[in-house]
């Protein structure tokens, strides 16, 4: 089991509660200082945070460095985009063997986005997990590139230009996603539930097998577990989370395009996870916030903000190994 001091535990709990309180209060705070656009910015942070948490599940706990995670985000976004396009166009998605019409019902589209993310993760993971190390990094990148070019080839759905959405997903008459505060709280609720699920998962017997496989796969096999199947399951769950975040992202931007799947996006997700702290689940949310706020702040200062961001990344990797969450919540929770 985990060796943890009580003190570290308390400090982390406090940090989580304070962070959550701040996130809940954020729309009011933004309103009070008259900067409503912070609500939109933090909605993006929550959504990318969701994608980063899903990546942390495999990267931080399973040691699987997926360099193609943006592909699953893109798949979720395209599920929303394509079904919405068919509503606008009036044509059915398919007519055989069953007629499927386009839809903008969030209760249908969002779970479907997660499901498609999971299915693609199952197919990609089943092949990729045969390899390890750099080959795994590269094969996940290769699959993401395939889907990226596939999206560009979808001429019906805008090809390289993507799809502009005319409507957000509907969640019944009482929840209006066009209201940015409502949309913010919906994203926050989904993120909280997902983080809670992942936390339960990583502390379950299943999670222990995945974490054990990262540290010593041979020993896990000797204990009678199948690391491959456990890792694949984690990969699929992670794909579902990323797909769901893609559905939210499509709604936030009211746009879906191949750029969502570009390899730079995958790189940025890894950056968020490591910046925030790998294998912490809360860290990636902080990492997403830090990344987007840094981007926002530096972009205000200089148009060439990436020339600062690059060295900052290098610096974080070389000197701040445990990420921001390690610094907030105290020492690492487990020996690495």
């Amino acid at each position: 089991m985990l060796e943890r001091t009580n003190e570290g535990n308390k400090r982390e709990t406090a940090a989580v509660l304070i962070g959550l309180a701040l996130l809940v209060a954020l729309p009011f705070l933004a309103d009070a200082i008259g900067k409503g656009f912070y609500v939109t910015l933090f909605t993006r942070i929550l959504i990318l945070g969701l994608a980063a948490v899903s990546l942390d599940l495999i990267l931080g706990y399973g040691g699987m460095v997926s360099f193609g995670h943006a592909a699953f985000v893109g798949i979720g976004a395209y599920v929303v985009g394509i079904l919405s396009w068919h509503v606008f166009d009036g044509s059915p998605l398919m007519t055989w063997p069953v007629v499927i019409e386009g839809t903008e019902n969030g209760f249908v589209v969002w779970p479907l986005a997660a499901l498609m993310g999971a299915l693609f993760a199952l197919a990609i993971g089943a092949i990729s997990l045969r390899t390890t190390g750099i080959s795994f990094i590269m094969i996940t990148l290769a699959f993401a590139q395939m889907l990226f070019y596939l999206a560009i080839g979808l001429r019906t759905y805008g090809g390289e230009d993507g799809i502009a959405l005319y409507n957000k997903s509907g969640l019944g008459s009482s929840i209006d996603l066009f209201d940015k505060t409502t949309f913010y709280y919906v994203c926050l609720a989904i993120l909280v539930v997902f983080v809670w699920l992942c936390r339960r998962l990583t502390r379950s017997r299943f999670g222990m097998v995945v974490r054990g496989a990262r540290i010593n796969e041979r020993r896990m096999r000797a204990l009678g577990f199948s690391p491959y199947r456990h890792k694949l399951t984690a990969f699929v769950i992670s794909g579902a989370g990323a797909g769901l975040s893609g559905a939210l992202l499509a709604n936030a931007a009211e746009f879906v395009g191949p750029a969502y799947m570009s390899w730079q996006r995958s790189g940025e997700l890894i950056v968020m996870v490591v910046l925030g702290g790998m294998g912490t689940l809360f860290g990636p949310v902080v990492g997403a916030a830090a990344f987007l706020l840094l981007e926002e702040g530096l972009a205000d200062l200089t148009e060439h903000w990436q020339i600062v961001l690059g060295p900052v990344l290098l610096f974080v990797v070389v000197f701040a190994r445990r990420g921001i969450w390690g610094w907030i919540a105290g020492p690492a929770r487990e020996d690495r």
């Binding site: 390890t132 080959s135 990094i137 790189g267 990344l313 070389v318």
Partner: protein, 306 residues
Amino acid sequence: MNTLLLVEQGLNGLQLGVMLFLMAAGLTLVFGIMDMINLAHGSLYMIGAYLTATLTPLVGSFVLAMVVALPLAALIGMAVEVVALRTLYRREHLDQVLATFGLILFFNELVRIVWGPQPIFLKPPDWLAGTVEIIPGVPYPAFRLAIIAVGLAVAGFLYLLITRTRTGMLIRAGASNREMLGALGVDVKRLYTLVFGLGAALAALAGAMAGPILAVQVGMGESILILTFVVIVIGGLGSVRGALVGALLVGMVDTLARALLPTVLRTMMPPSQADGMGASLASMTIYILMAAVLAWKPRGLFPAHA
């Protein structure tokens, strides 16, 4: 499908292949010896192209500009190695991916500040601007033939360097056992820097030669970087022979797929759809090839440390 077109596309594939080999050789050497994954390799390619494009009007000759640009790029590469990458050799691959991802952002922005966001156009030297009829009826650009020749010459040079010289012996020894090489009194750090400089010069050579074919612009390094990774993963990480085979395979498959797939698809569906599908399928081909190779041989075709 006529034979002449096939010959022409075959040569195009060969040209892309040797270009990829120039990139892959440096990357795979760095990986084989230092166990280091370097995403910033594409930045050196971009720097080589920009330096050559800037120097050509100054010195009045494309070739002379290249002669000056290559050592400069090698120096930049060695400086990056000493300043930033040296601390990363013993780190996990994830750290290396991240840190060199940061370097890409830095170099792209640096180039954008120095040269501006507009692409620069670079003309091939006059004596290579025309075409040559290799087979009667197939005029082929002389510059592309020159690229093939240079690429094959570099492959030969690398073969001799690695198998026949003392430096090559040290490189091979470093790839199979670093600690032992250090224990025998070889200055491993200097060897690393040297190999990195060699890789940087090869990448810059590829970039300089790509200049007249493609536009010299920010981000040009990334598109070829990903192809290069596909090459070295297919060939087997750390193996120069694997890099050569992988590069020619990827160059050929990619070029032929782009040339042939739309035509093949046109026989099955309406032209407008066929062109879109064909282009996107063609872009996917090499990734499908890579996934297939890895699924079949997870360590690539010629694994270096068997």
